[in-house]
Symmetry: C2
Subunit: 347 residues, 2 copies
């Protein structure tokens, strides 16, 4: 099982997944093969991945005609407990006993937790397409249905308190397989970045009496200078303090803090607007690598009136270098107004 | 002048350096030229960079025989104020007037500050070498002297409250020029990552009555399992909660919170141990790209007994993907004990 370690200074969590890599040779630069001999995600190769946790297609009686399917990750970053192991790792303390000053320091310096969680993969098409932009209307919609249904399936699971849905597309974005897929990682607690975001939104609400996402969405739609696209229930814009060049957010117009409570109509609108935004990015930036993330309220927090679930899309066109890693600041060479100008014009 | 924007939700700062990039074509993948026609950092090409701010060499009377020199960055992320502009941007508020509820929300959503700061480049050799590992003893030492002297030169400058010294080596680490160089960026306030680190160290001191860096250094030297190398005044080890594969820290054995107060003997030991660690990484990982960072107390904070200045080295052998960006968690496939085993064995 992977081990979760905490940095004693910053409090940052690290998953040490020692099972995933061996000798240093594995990190050496290898000639990249463009041809995959046999793709485990293509229809007909279902025996190369674990059995489906869920599947979607035109005919509920014909599982072999799946269009979108969900499988456990074969190389999970986090896993469920072994038989007999505790299900609630986060209520315990570190494994070190704390009897005196020295052992208290020892415990603080070397804090670990078992790497409990869930890690699933959503295969977004039976054909060997790569980008989310290539999906059919149905496949895009079913992919979003899969996200919602897997979140609902794990609600109440103590190893799966905070769901993170994300996509890595292209090697620069960390993808290791070409076939269109995304990942759902369920963490045993809300990660720092998300918790800070939700807490920041709560502070904004307390100070200004309004949800920051609603305020932002309304102002951006009104101003227009950072707008990329919109449909009935969603808007897409480049945020004012974009961290990365051409960063784009997709936000629901109506207030909803929990993604898993979205209606079919909302999922449809979100999926199609996401596909459209990615197509725009691919036209303007010539098929860039990209990540997208779905941010939603962890299961152990109340639904609330200050936080929106939303999607953040990052084309990976510039590299985070020493400055970004060391400071937590970002350096973005493309003002979002300029990015939006290019993105809104095409298509 | 660049603009600094603040995300209204997370509070994260972003430098929008719109002068550094133009049309989206600039982000398209270009064939990488391995040959640089003329390197602006080589001796004899001094006219291709701004005049030296400082230089080091065997003969103080012969500036043309420099071995290490410091110049202003030609493409600065942050700059000093224009004539007549305020020197103290961080004492003011945002440029929006706050008269009523709507304009208060407006000000909170679109908070900006002028991009004031300093950005300098340290050229570490007159010859066209690339990695820090290739420097002579003198060049490594003088590079560290340059770091210290530039920090001392800016102490008291309101645009330069928090110095960040960092190196990007190799394109995967964000370097755009091959010739051995590092950067010193002076920020107008301590960046979040550093402030969190210093605050975390202060909490540790309050709780345990000991400096966390001293405690960690002593325990690691005693345990040995994560030790990479040591000399008289410094130790190098892979930290217990390493964020990245083969991450290595260099820490002074004696307590000192401010890098700019280091003695010549300390600078010498630090520089030579850094060079040795990089040589070990290059042997084990076959010439990886890497970043290193110097963390030190910002000028507006007191010297203290809970924080050590130190160096963090990150070989860029794995890519941060969707999971890392979205959660702030790290996923490290190489346990630091295993990394240290390989790194300590070579050389």
């Amino acid at each position: 099982m992977p081990e979760i370690r905490q940095d004693p200074i910053s409090g940052r969590w690290v998953i040490i997944a020692g099972n995933r890599a061996g000798r240093p040779e594995e990190f050496r630069r290898a000639p990249v093969s463009r041809v995959e001999i046999s793709c485990p995600f293509c229809r007909g190769h279902e025996d190369q991945s674990p059995p489906s946790l869920a599947w979607y297609g035109p005919d509920r009686g014909s599982p072999e005609r799946w269009e979108v399917r969900v499988v456990p990750n074969k190389y999970p970053a986090l896993t469920g407990p072994a038989p007999g192991e505790s299900h609630s790792p986060w209520h315990g303390e570190s494994r070190h006993s704390v009897n005196d000053r020295d052992s208290a320091i020892e415990a603080a310096l070397f804090k670990t937790l078992p790497g409990l969680g869930r890690h699933e993969v959503v295969i977004e098409s039976p054909a060997h397409v790569a980008s989310f932009s290539e999906l059919s209307d149905d496949q895009a919609f079913w992919t979003f249905c899969a996200y919602r249904d897997r979140l609902l399936a794990h609600r109440g699971d103590p190893c799966a308190v905070s769901p993170m849905v994300f996509k890595n597309f292209g090697p620069e974005a960390g993808a290791s397989l070409v076939h269109a897929h995304s990942q759902i990682l369920f963490l045993p607690q809300g990660p720092q970045t998300l918790v800070e975001e939700i807490d920041g939104a709560e502070r904004f609400r307390q100070r200004h009496g309004e949800c920051v996402f609603c305020a932002m969405t309304a102002r951006e739609a009104e101003l227009g200078v950072r707008m990329v696209a919109r449909n009935e229930r969603f808007v897409a814009f480049c945020p004012f303090a974009s961290q990365f060049a051409y960063e784009t957010w997709i936000l629901p117009r109506g207030h909803n803090s929990r993604f898993e409570e979205a209606t079919d109509a909302e999922l449809q609108d979100a999926a199609l607007l996401l596909r459209q935004v990615i197509r725009r990015l691919e036209t303007v930036l010539d098929q860039p690598a990209y990540n997208y993330f779905l941010h939603t309220t962890p299961f152990d927090r109340q639904a609330n009136d200050h936080y929106h679930w939303h999607i953040e899309i990052f084309p990976r066109v510039s590299k985070a270098a020493g400055f970004e890693w060391s400071t937590g600041w970002r350096l973005n060479a493309v003002p979002p107004e300029r990015a939006a100008e290019f993105l809104s014009r095409v298509y």
